[in-house]
Amino acid sequence: MIETKGLTKYFGSFAALRDVSIALHPGRLTGIIGPNGSGKSTLIKCLLGLVRPSDGLVLHNGRLPDTGGSYRAHIGYMPQRATFPGDLTGREVLALVSKLRSEKPHRMDSLIDLFDLHRDLNKRVRTLSGGTRQKLSAVVAGMYDPTLLILDEPTAGLDTGASKVFKGYVSEQLKQGCAVLMTTHIISDLEEMADDIVLLVDGTVSYAGSVRELKLTTDRPLLEAAVAEILQQGAA
Amino acid sequence: MLPMPGMLGGESMRLRMTMAREIASVRLFAAVTCLLTALVLMVPSPAKGRTLWVHPDSTLATISQGIGAAQSHDTLVISVGTYSADSLIIGIPLTLSGQPGAIVRAGGKRGIFVVTAPHVTIRNLHLTGVQASFTAEHAAILLEGVSHVTIEDNIIDNCFFGIYAANSFACTISRNQVIGRQDRLTTAGNGIHLWYCRDIAVIGNSVSSHRDGIYMEFVRSSVVDRNQCRDNLRYGLHYMFSDSSQYAGNFFCRNAAGVAVMYTSNVLMQDNVFDQSWGGASYGLLLKDIRDSRVVGNKFTSNSIGVHIEGSDRIVLAHNLFKDNGWAMRLMANCLDNSIRENDFIDNSFAVATNSRQNHSSFDGNYWSDYRGFDLDRDGYGDTPFRPVSLFSLLVESHPPTLVLLRSLLVNVLDLAERTIPTLTPETLVDTRPSMGPNL
């Protein structure tokens, strides 16, 4: 389990995160929603260790992360824009990652099959379409069977078919006990998949809890309406 | 730092006067000898002369005994062995010829031989051990008021002065090896020293580790050719007040300064090599108060300063090579009408330095390796003039420590700017016909 305790991050005098405490549970998908600039990406980067918190803690199974970053061995990350060194081929990217981790990926081939990437793996990354890059990113994120998947707008570049395949993959991971954190603008995706919701507004948590509870407390059957209700309450 | 020539003049003048007193007594004797010799010469001699053998085990066991037994024009052959002589006077025309291994040591605190008769020849001897003195210029061989004396093929080492000729003429000093003690400047004498002489030929000698390798003062019409002067503490060759002389084909290497020519006119300096004179105010060639002389076909390589010219007029410097020197040429503003033409200036840290914006000498047809112009009309000379004095060299002239910035980008940019729009460098110090390729 991964949790944050009182996580606060200032960029200069701007508070990107203020006292954020959330927990990600195995087998559950947590959706982070919030307007642009509400701190979603900063929160994700704090979890990954890309951003150093100004205050507060990130705990992995109750422990502080080590400086060598070995805790990241259990995290699969798909960034918002899948970015790889453009001169490498997909295959080289995968080889690079496995070389850096000096560990053979457990399920690289099955993921390549799943996302139907074989034909594109020998092309340079810079020539790939956004969607194909996103698929490659999914392979990189998933090929070591992570216990936490962090997905930043994962379906944004994917076409409908690929999006469906991807969601299938995520559900399967959830079934196997993986914790999933996902940000998206496509509320319907969350409606479909999310177990828990974290609503961030101006770097603070407006709501954190299960989707069911959210719908119950706001008395709205649709997630989108429930979220709108919370936002309205916050504004009032 | 070397003492200035002027200051030294005073000191050596005192020395010289002491010496003059000392040899005054000798001089009377010399005069008598000369008279006797003249008489002898007038008498038709029956034979060309006998050969006497000086040998440590024979009746003529010392050179002094040998000379005592000899008559004019005899030849004394000095056999192998070590002899001593204490300012031994050679007062009749004689030939002293050493056999290999014949060594003559200074027997006292004075010199070894004093030649007071003409037509003396000293050859193939190894002379050694003349001690330094602060009061007199003791030499291995002193020529005092003589003519037609030949000193050749001797080895002279560890002597205060090597060969000292005073008031003499028509003498030859050739192929001697004169090796000093590499002492301090104050206790070192000159290798070959000529004073008030004329028509002297100093040829093919090798002089090292003395104060001055070859010293000439008040000498006329003399020739210094094909000598090698190395590692001398002051000058390889030192000319003072010695008009109408020439030196050519000499090799000067690692002397504190190669050659100093001062207060002289009509000197021909040709085909010499001036190499590796390194140090503060060290030059291959110093020209000070010189008139109407020619410096032609010489090579100046790896000296701190190739040629330093001050107070000198109407000198022609042509067809010389200046390579790898710190400063190829330092031309002071008090020089007039010198012509510097068709020389090659290659890879010197500075081509020409001067101390003023004034220049009264001309540069023409030289090759400058720093020149970057074009020759569009294909006449072999660059179309734009070359200014050999860089801004930085002026700066170093006024603030020597800034030399550390040599070859820095800043300095290169400043020099380029100055060359493009000259404002501080001497306006007339310019080669309007820079050669596109080496002249030599």
Partner: protein, 263 residues
């Protein structure tokens, strides 16, 4: 350390494939061949190359390193999401950039030298001296550039900072030295100038070349101080320590900043 090696290995392969490395190598190759064309004497070519290196190696190293950093932020972020410590990432990047810089420089100068130069030992030793100094300067300025790029996320600002660094090291510093030496002419300036030249890696490298190439001029004036200093083992030791310090300080500071940096 294996991770550092892997990252640097990747960086090297990445750079070797780019046009940058070809441009870098070609620049020095053409410059060297051009100098051989202009002056036949290969000892003098070494002097010209060293002058050229003093200007261009810092500039190229700075720009190249910063540009590579800015262009590979994707790659850096990718590896930072992997179970790898930031120290290794920083050192791997620096090492990779450095090796490719130096390789480009050595091949650029080396090939014309092998073809056109003499096999005279003094020439070879002059070239070796150029290469050693080039390695030192590349290392120092690559490290400085990496620090600047790490500190400035904005590419334009980062480039402005590194150009400023170059301007100071290659030109302005000498301007200050010149101003000081002329303004304080009545004081003995030799020792302060010696210290001043030890304090700037470009000047130090230049003086190290000077004591060989312009010995005759240096012996002429105050330079005797320099010759005496750099001719002794202590001089070389102090020079080496100064260059190492100029490398170690930015690496140390860069590691600290990189470790605290937000991506």
């Amino acid at each position: 350390m294996t991770i550092v090696r892997q990252i640097s290995g990747f960086v090297i392969r990445d750079i070797l494939r780019s046009r940058w490395s070809i441009a870098n190598t070609m620049f020095f190759a053409i410059a060297t061949a051009g100098l051989f064309y202009l002056q036949a004497d290969s000892a003098r070519v070494a002097v010209s190359i060293s002058s050229l290196s003093l200007v261009f190696i810092p500039l190229i190293s700075l720009i190249y390193t910063a540009m590579y950093y800015y262009n590979s932020r994707d790659f850096i972020e990718l590896i930072l999401t992997q179970p790898i410590g930031r120290r290794s990432v920083f050192l791997g990047l620096l090492l990779g950039i450095l090796i490719s810089l130096v390789a480009g420089f050595i091949t650029g100068i080396g090939i014309p030298y092998v073809i056109l130069g003499s096999s005279d030992w003094t020439d070879i030793s002059a070239v070796i001296a150029v290469i050693v100094i080039a390695i030192a300067l590349s290392s120092i300025f690559a490290a400085l550039a990496l620090v600047a790029a790490t500190r400035c996320d904005d590419r334009g600002k980062g480039l402005a900072v590194i150009l400023g660094m170059w301007l100071v090291a290659a030109v302005l510093y000498d301007g200050l030295v010149l101003a000081a030496a002329t303004a304080l002419a009545e004081y003995p300036m030799e020792t302060p100038l010696l210290i001043a030249s030890l304090a700037n890696p470009v000047d130090l490298s230049r003086v190290l070349f000077l004591v060989h190439s312009d010995m005759a001029a240096l012996m002429g004036y105050t330079g005797a101080v320099f010759i005496r200093f750099f001719d002794q083992p202590i001089g070389l030791v102090v020079a080496t320590v100064s260059l190492l310090a100029w490398f170690a300080a930015p690496v140390w500071y860069g590691l600290r900043r990189f470790n605290l940096k937000d991506f």
